[in-house]
């Protein structure tokens, strides 16, 4: 009796797992097919036509290394969007960590009046939906001239990112012993050397996790970029959305694969960190 139950258990799990990967399978088939019509389960023709149409891979017969580079240098839409997403992601990640570091240190190590209130303020962007603030902000940005600018988009991306970065890093500092720094100072290390040789190695793992969050959150933003970017800043999620609405599944699938690539990378990378870190997981849940 027990054995049978166990078997059912296991098969149910496999079924569930299969169902869960189904979308991924669909993505890959779509991306590498041509004319994959209903009701075929397996496309009659496997091809890279979607990638050629997106100007990511040169036409057949021309696939040398130089032609790849030439193609990308001609700046097709996908490459432009990719570069934008990467740049914005990188900038907001670096900026958010630099801004959050001193604040997190103070929050993690010291106690002071209004601390709880300040933490509440820091965390509030995660409680209310982005639509609540971005509409009003957009009008402001328009009058300030930030609308449609790279700077404006980076600025607005900081809003959903700061809470996670501050929170993660505060957690790191709460477990950090500042006496190590004083010990190094008495041994002759000045403040700069102490920071780089003692503090940084200790907080590096937490910083990496915070950086990955920040990057993923920025990478996945649609509404904020769409509104503040005012159509002038094209990022990958915007491209995915517009292609998905247009109805060509192969193109959509190809762009989506590029889009989820960092997420998969990060998944492999943080599979050690994610287990047991509830701060981390609630961050990922919001992406």
């Amino acid at each position: 009796m027990n054995n049978n139950l166990k078997k059912i258990n296991i098969y149910a799990i496999y079924l569930g797992a299969f169902i869960l990967i189904l979308p991924l399978i669909a993505f890959f088939i779509n991306a590498f097919s041509f004319r994959w019509f209903y009701p075929q389960i397996i496309p009659k023709e496997l091809s890279l036509q979607a990638w050629v149409r997106l100007k990511l891979i040169p036409k057949p017969g021309q696939r040398t290394f130089e032609s790849f580079l030439d193609l990308w240098a001609s700046n097709p839409t996908v490459i432009k969007a990719l570069i934008n997403s990467l740049t914005i992601g990188f900038i907001v990640t670096v900026v958010s960590i630099i801004i959050a570091l001193p604040a997190a240190r103070v929050l993690g190590l010291l106690n002071f009046r209004f601390k709880k209130l300040i933490i509440f303020i820091m965390v509030s962007p995660t409680i209310l939906p982005p639509i609540a603030f971005v509409l009003g902000l957009n009008i402001n940005f328009i009058s300030l001239g930030f609308s449609g600018s790279f700077f404006g988009v980076c600025l607005v991306h900081l809003v959903p990112i700061m809470p996670y970065v501050v929170l993660t890093m505060t957690g790191i500092f709460a477990n950090y012993n500042p006496d190590f720094e004083h010990q190094a100072r008495t041994l002759g290390a000045n403040k700069t050397k102490t920071f780089f040789l003692i503090t940084l190695p200790a907080i590096a793992p937490g910083m990496v996790v915070a950086a990955l969050f920040a990057f993923l959150v920025s990478w996945s933003q649609y509404l904020l970029t769409f509104l503040i970017g005012a159509g002038k800043i094209m990022t990958l999620p915007l491209l995915v959305f517009s292609t998905a609405s247009s109805g060509n599944p192969a193109l959509t699938a190809a762009i989506s694969i590029i889009f989820i690539f960092p997420a998969i990378l990060i998944l492999f990378f943080t599979s050690k960190f994610v287990s047991g870190e509830s701060g981390a997981t609630s961050g990922f849940g919001k992406i």
Partner: protein, 351 residues
């Protein structure tokens, strides 16, 4: 080796109704091994942290070799501290930890390697250079911390509760190591402790600190035989306190009159307290002395290994006497006994 002068040192913390450090003055000479002794929260560690520069004093000065330290940043003071939990840098191995101070000075790596080996030999841990701190036992970590502190020949060595984390047998070893190294390198050393036995065993001089104030600064022996007040005496295990009225050069007590040899008779107030160490009281079944001798009854006999403690009741006063267990026999409860308080072993205190 350096002279340390602490002058009128004051430190206040928010939330405390008294100063954490209240007007402390101390003069420590080059090469001395000094203990800051006091109960938890008395301010001893705070003074240490002001010497290293973690805190700034609210008032007063700290001078090393007659130059104020207060305007120098921590890393240039030449004052090195070994924390209670050793704080070996977890991302470096033993060699890198020990050589840290020399690396900060910019010394060539080959010289650093030689000196590191020397220091590890000095603390008797020659083979562990490549290990990481988490692979070391508590005692080994402390020796590495000591080596790390001493490698750059600091002017002042500060130890925060160096023995309190160790088991009894390790404590003996460590105590010997500290004393040997300190004498060998002749480095002025201050260590902080709440354990008076530890202070007495290690230190040349002890600074007794209660509630942020310096009570006394003198040799361990003096704390035993010539304590400044009852609180200090009790801290060192004193248990015999007799209320006294001074009458010219005689002391009148409930036991009877006492003849007093102490050289502070003039400073004693009319009403004062006499104390005597349990091990200095003489007892016998015959009255052998013509002064400071009283008849009493044994209330209890407690055997504590090498010594035996006798609680004796004389009139309404209870005195405790401690004698070596060997050589005394046949003293039982309720025996009548003669107690002699040698006139050079009693000590008068105001309060």
């Amino acid at each position: 080796m350096s002279d340390l002068k602490i002058i009128n040192l004051v430190k206040n913390f928010q939330g405390m109704d008294r100063p954490a450090v209240n007007n402390v003055n101390l003069d420590i000479h080059s090469g001395e091994l000094v203990a800051f002794l006091g109960p938890s929260g008395c301010g001893k560690t705070t003074i240490l942290k002001m010497i290293t520069g973690l805190f700034d004093p609210d008032n007063g000065d700290i001078k090393l070799d007659n130059q104020t330290l207060l305007t120098t940043p921590t890393e240039k003071r030449g004052v090195v501290m070994v924390f209670q939990n050793y704080l070996l840098f977890p991302y470096m191995n033993v060699n890198e930890n020990v050589g840290f101070a020399l690396k900060m000075k910019g010394v060539e790596q080959s010289i650093i390697d030689t000196k590191v080996r020397e220091m590890l030999d000095l603390v008797k841990l020659p083979d562990i250079g490549l290990r990481k701190p988490k692979q070391l036992s508590g005692g080994q970590q402390q020796r590495v911390a000591l080596a790390r502190a001493l490698i750059a020949s600091p002017r002042l060595l500060l130890l925060d509760e160096p023995l309190s984390n160790l088991d009894a047998h390790l404590r003996d070893e460590m105590r010997e190591l500290i004393v040997t190294i300190q004498k060998k390198l002749n480095v002025t050393t201050i260590f902080v402790t709440h354990d008076q036995e530890e202070a007495v065993l290690l230190a040349d001089k002890i600074a007794l600190i209660f509630d942020g104030e310096l009570q006394n600064y003198t040799s361990p022996k003096n704390y035993y035989e010539r304590p400044k007040n009852t609180e200090a005496a009790k801290f060192f295990g004193g248990v015999n306190f007799i209320k006294t009225k001074k009458n010219n050069n005689q002391l009148e007590t409930e036991l009877g009159d006492l003849v007093y040899d102490g050289n502070n008779i003039d400073e004693l107030e009319i009403e004062n307290i006499i104390t005597i160490r349990p091990e200095n009281i003489k007892i016998s079944d015959k009255n052998k002395y013509d002064h400071n001798s009283f008849k009493g009854t044994i209330k209890s006999v407690i055997f504590s290994g090498t010594h035996t403690r006798y609680k004796i009741l004389i009139n309404n006063i209870q005195l405790e006497c401690s004698l070596q267990s060997v050589g005394i026999n046949n003293i039982k409860e309720n025996d009548e006994i003669y107690v002699h308080l040698p006139k050079n072993k009693i000590w008068g205190m105001n309060d």
